[in-house]
């Protein structure tokens, strides 16, 4: 089997497993919705900067919770089985793609619900949506690898948070800036720099994950 078909099979399996149980999906969606609601009840009205920051904080924690599961859920037997049939690159790419899909779905739902509950005018809605998509992709690329590392080390949630925060903060700074630009409705050419750097970091993170994951996998 070549890499692409392997990835396709693994991705199909992830989605099928998720579709059957719907546990993670429903759990995460409910998590996001209830967090948004809690924030609404405690803030009621927010100034734009807080609105933006709050949204990303909600997404950040939801993403950590969602993606932390991606390796911890797998049983030892199943991992051994993957080890025999697929290459490590295929596994990490499949996981990253699956997490990207999951995060985009989650972020979109969160954004829609958030903007219904909290009224706030966003100047440039397509650009804001692009920022959300880019954010979802960044979260999944970084957290997938970190969750693989954390799952090898005692599997606890605190470790996942400690390891991932310093790595995600630079990305988060850029994303928040980009989405703030979108909220203020600034000219799009202002944001090109941020988008470029974000894409570059994501590319670097994916390449490094591909290079490092085989070492992590071999055990």
């Amino acid at each position: 089997m070549n890499l692409v078909t392997q990835i396709k099979y693994l991705l199909k399996k992830e989605i099928l497993l998720e579709w059957r149980s719907k546990y993670a999906l429903n759990g995460i969606l409910l998590y996001v919705v209830s967090t948004v609601f809690v924030c609404y009840l405690s803030f009621k009205v927010t100034p734009p900067t807080v609105w933006n920051a709050l949204f990303w904080i909600i997404l950040l924690f939801a993403a950590i919770n969602a993606i932390a599961k991606s390796f911890m859920q797998e049983s030892k037997g199943r991992l051994l089985y993957y080890y025999q049939i697929a290459s490590p690159q295929a596994i990490i790419i499949a996981k990253i793609i699956y997490n990207i899909l999951l995060m985009i779905l989650m972020a979109t739902v969160a954004l829609v619900f958030y903007s219904i509950v909290f009224t706030n005018d966003v100047g440039d809605i397509p650009l804001y949506f692009l920022a959300v998509i880019l954010g979802a992709i960044s979260f999944s690329t970084v957290f997938t690898m970190i969750s693989a590392i954390a799952s090898k080390a005692n599997n606890n949630g605190t470790l996942m948070a400690i390891l991932s925060f310093p790595v995600i903060i630079p990305l988060l700074i850029l994303i928040i800036k980009l989405s703030k630009n979108a909220m203020d409705g600034l000219d799009r050419s202002v944001s090109y720099k941020e988008i470029g750097v974000l894409c570059a970091i994501n590319a670097i993170v994916i390449v490094i994950s591909l290079l490092l994951f085989p070492y992590l996998w071999r055990d």
Binding site: M145, I146, I149, K152, A153, N154, N156, L159, I162, L163, F165, P166, V167, I169, P170, L171, I173, L174, K177, K193, E194, V197, I201, I204, V205, I208, S209, L212, Y215, L216, D219
Partner: protein, 222 residues
């Protein structure tokens, strides 16, 4: 190399020279900074040493993944330990300098924030190591995290501050020290200071590394 002493003597001479030269050689007279511009000779080399020693750590982590040689892992850990010391010293010295020139211990400056986050990253590395008991597994997983985090740290320290306004020279429209006030007199002290402190940081790392090696030998005999 590690056991040679010529570079240790060179490091001492350079550092001692910068103490004398840094205090005595004329500096440009600038408002706000006044004499405190001399801090440049002592505060900035801390960052250079920190970055160099973290780079050494990553190089040895990569070497470890290829060789599974335990000693390479020891170099990587001890480099991080020394780098953390330099990071903390750099942060606190910067905070003191900032208080008297910019008015706040923690002015909202991207370089400061970046440096603090980079320090957090390596603290996380230390926590990760302490969470795994099995030695080879610990070495491998921490090496992987180290390599994974390093490029993000590079982006954090070198790219992000250039995207935003910064109080530090050389960022966001602020002219760099190089353009007008790092005159030839200052270069004469600044570059030796950087080289001297980098060598000192490597020296500290080798001392810690050798202690670790001895400890390991002792444990094996018992």
């Amino acid at each position: 190399m590690m056991y040679k002493s010529w570079w240790k003597i060179l490091a001492s001479v350079l550092v001692l020279y910068t103490v004398v030269g840094g205090l005595l050689i004329n500096v440009p007279t600038l408002p706000i900074l006044h004499e405190s511009i001399r801090n440049l000779y002592f505060h900035v080399p801390m960052w250079f040493s920190m970055i160099v020693i973290y780079t050494v750590s990553v190089v040895y982590s990569i070497k470890y993944l290829n060789s599974s040689n335990e000693n390479h892992d020891l170099v990587a850990v001890e480099s991080v330990n020394v780098g953390l010391i330099f990071g903390f010293v750099g942060l606190t010295s910067g905070m003191i300098w900032a208080k008297f020139t910019w008015g706040d211990y923690w002015p909202n400056d991207p370089k400061l924030n970046s440096a603090a986050i980079a320090t957090l990253m390596y603290l996380a590395y230390v926590v990760l190591r302490s969470s795994i008991d099995e030695e080879q597994k610990r070495a491998k997983i921490s090496a992987i995290y180290n390599i994974f985090a390093y490029p993000v740290m590079v982006v954090l320290l070198f790219v992000l501050p250039r995207l935003t306004d910064s109080l530090h020279p050389g960022n966001g429209g602020n002219p760099g020290f190089g353009t007008y006030d790092l005159d030839s007199n200052m270069r004469l002290v600044f570059y030796p200071a950087v080289i001297g402190w980098i060598l000192i940081s490597v020296w500290l790392m080798t001392i810690r590394y050798r202690i670790r090696i001895l400890e390991n030998k002792n444990n094996q005999i018992n």
